[in-house]
Symmetry: C2
Amino acid sequence: DDRFKIGEQKAKVCMTCHGVNGISSIESYPNLRGQKMAYLITSLKSYQTRERSGGLAVLMQQQADALSEQDISDIAYYYSKLGSEDAN
Amino acid sequence: DDRFKIGEQKAKVCMTCHGVNGISSIESYPNLRGQKMAYLITSLKSYQTRERSGGLAVLMQQQADALSEQDISDIAYYYSKLGSEDAN
């Protein structure tokens, strides 16, 4: 699945906090493995629009600001498939 | 695990959107199964403080407003253990 691989490349920067397999090692950072694609897209955009603010959100705002619409879609696709990529 | 059962009772209202087993059937609603407890607590509180606003966040604000600090902790505990409750 090419799109999975593209998303995986783009998600390298996410892995620092969210873990190499989408399970974060830091309690206050969410696991992303197998999360809903549409939810991930909405969340990333809400950091960009600052609809998510305060505390740790500020950290994510900086990350989200660096992403294009396509990046967000590819990364969200990758995480939504992570854990079931062999199934399809 | 009594705490798991208490959290499960309190999470009945969450199951409508987030699914009976913590896997939501609606693309824009997140799966909560096995999510990090501290992250769930931070998220619920950010709906209460309105640090999460706009779009679907408004729906969650209403839900979060009905929860006490203890409710939030119990529900977050439940979802963080969901899927691994037999392990401990």
